[in-house]
Subunit: 353 residues, 2 copies
């Protein structure tokens, strides 16, 4: 198969981990007889520096024509003092919205060799394997009005959703549960928010279409507790944009594998933007120290979700597992009695499996 | 001193833990020569059953005249199917709003004999002692409009704040930090929300008035992570209503002492409503199994924050500590080789110290 991939390396360690993931994609293409072509564009701080805007038009145009998009990371202290419309994260928010990437998939799974790095007791975290399906283009992130009023004496933001926006993300979540363990937890704040009451209604309607999935409702405060006390309880969690932002970051530190976690932001037709969960880590940028595994696993998610290449994705994922079992690691992973290597060497080890 | 206290026992285990706390208050009054008078009113499910509304007018009127209010717990499956304006928690939201109880104080501290029950590794949780100052009468909880639109095709909730509402809670938080470890973490989502950008500005202005406090800003997603990876990092956290709801519940499970945690909801003149963080636990209600310590510690917070009785509060807190050190406990606490007793016996042990 022929696929055209847009690379958005971004800031900090973004370029080096993107390069590593590209290398693994090239190896996979060779192994399976695919042809992957690549094109690189600016986003975030790099785009501000090069083109004076965090999301240049040619970047958006290229992404619209791509089969898949791989992003490194955006942001850094260098751009922290700029006005808000000129901040690197505006690039990220803008590309999600302009491409309509409404479904953010954040799998959290413990890697056995890394579980010792979890802040949780081993018996609490053992067996955790969950997927957060976060709505990504609605809610408080884009609702209008969002403004100061009364000469700055008041301020409002708006949490807005259409029923159609709820339906498509809830469908996505039910479908995700069907290919996992058939257990869906819908998270809301229905005892306070009107939008949450509508969300619950949509879940109740949709569940008729997925009789094989066991679905339950949980309040967001209760979910924030249960993620810590019993993360293995969850299979798929679905929730609106802001709750999803908070819960998915909370979940990302549970297994001690933050440097390992991939994410996907996709839309109905399969186009998706894939990025590691970790940030741009400017303090270690350019030193070949950064852990490329989350970017590599993000590339694997692209193969699965945008290209329907399940075997290819599994091969990469099991190669990552093997490399960890052989105790190769970058400094962040703190493997006891492991072999510490550079980021590029670690990526090469994955390709060699 | 003479003080008049309104008791709102509420639902489930609410009545029994409120009774236990009342007993301890009576003992304290005797010891210190105070005169505490009590009056009991309905709230929540009990009020729905007795008076057809979760927040009867005479309850509000009595609370307005009180020096302090002690609440047990509200809610339970019995009332879960009622329409939203008739739900027990509307009683709680209503009393907060009608009395203007804008500052929710949620201290989270590990009790040494209970730390083994924490989901976190001992080295992660050790030394944790934090206070969440949550804004309680603004934000998404009360902002208007909150409604369906377009024949139910759309829905909005509104996150609304006035600058004055931000100022008073941020002042409260700085002052709380001053009597603790002088470290304030202000949590917001300034990279997305206009209200958060205003919040940051207010914090920056206010910090001039509290030069002894070290203040920093943290994004809510980062705070949700750091609470798990390094709870001991925090001293005082201040944040808006919904973020505070999520983070304070997340924080409440970190030390393994959920059944021990008190809370206060207060206003400028010192009037406050005090309640345990735990819920109404209908499954064990009426069996004298419920742990009364969170309600007792809430009563101690009342003495400190509403009555300026610091010595009295400390005496109760150290009595609770001693009882735990002597390994008396209710079933929920799971103390190894402890002496399991009933809720009322545990409360008596506190009074006897
Ligand atoms: C950078 C920020 C705007 C973004 C978000 O809140 O969505 C980030 O936290 C994320 O989760 O991808
Ligand atoms: C019952 C509910 C409305 C309430 C809230 O969200 O404020 C509760 O979760 C709390 O934190 O006291």
């Amino acid at each position: 198969m022929k696929k055209h991939i847009v690379l958005l390396p971004g800031d900090g360690i973004g370029p080096e981990v993107t390069k590593a993931a590209k290398g693994v994609l090239e190896t996979t293409a060779e192994q399976f007889g695919h042809s992957f072509t690549f094109e690189t564009h600016d986003i975030g701080g790099a785009a501000i520096d090069n083109q004076g805007t965090p999301l240049p038009e040619d970047t958006v145009a290229a992404c619209k024509k791509a089969d898949g998009i791989l992003l490194g990371a955006v942001g850094g202290p260098k751009w922290d003092q700029l006005p808000s419309h000129m901040r690197p994260e505006k690039g990220l928010l803008g590309i999600r919205k302009q491409l309509g990437l409404f479904a953010n998939l954040r799998p959290v799974k413990g890697f056995k060799p890394l579980l010792h790095a979890s802040p949780l007791k081993e018996e609490v975290v053992a067996g955790s394997d969950l997927l957060i399906v976060r709505e990504l283009t609605g809610g408080l992130y884009f609702g209008e009005p969002r403004e100061r009023r009364n000469n700055g004496a008041e301020v409002v933001d708006t949490l807005a959703y259409t029923r159609a926006e709820m339906e498509r993300i809830i469908d996505k979540a039910f479908q995700s549960a069907q290919v996992r363990r058939n257990h869906l937890t819908s998270v809301d704040k229905a005892n306070v928010l009107e939008s949450s009451r509508m969300w619950r209604e949509v879940v109740e309607e949709k569940k008729q279409d997925y009789p094989d999935v066991h679905v339950e409702h949980m309040l967001v405060d209760a979910a924030a507790m249960k993620l810590v006390t019993n993360p293995a309880y969850f299979d798929v969690i679905v929730t609106e944009n802001m709750f999803g932002d908070i819960l998915s970051d909370e979940a990302s530190v549970l297994t001690g594998s933050l440097g390992m976690l991939p994410s996907a932001s996709i839309r109905q037709d399969g186009l998706g933007l894939y990025e590691p969960v970790h940030g741009s880590a400017p303090d270690i940028a350019g030193q070949d120290k950064a852990n490329p595994l989350a970017a590599i696993l993000s590339a694997a998610m692209m193969l699965r979700h945008s290209f329907q290449m399940n075997n290819e994705a599994e091969l990469i994922e099991s190669a990552v597992n093997k490399v960890l079992e052989e105790k190769y690691h970058t400094a962040d992973l703190k493997l006891t009695d492991g072999v510490k290597v550079s980021g590029s060497t670690l990526a090469k080890k994955v390709s060699e499996q």
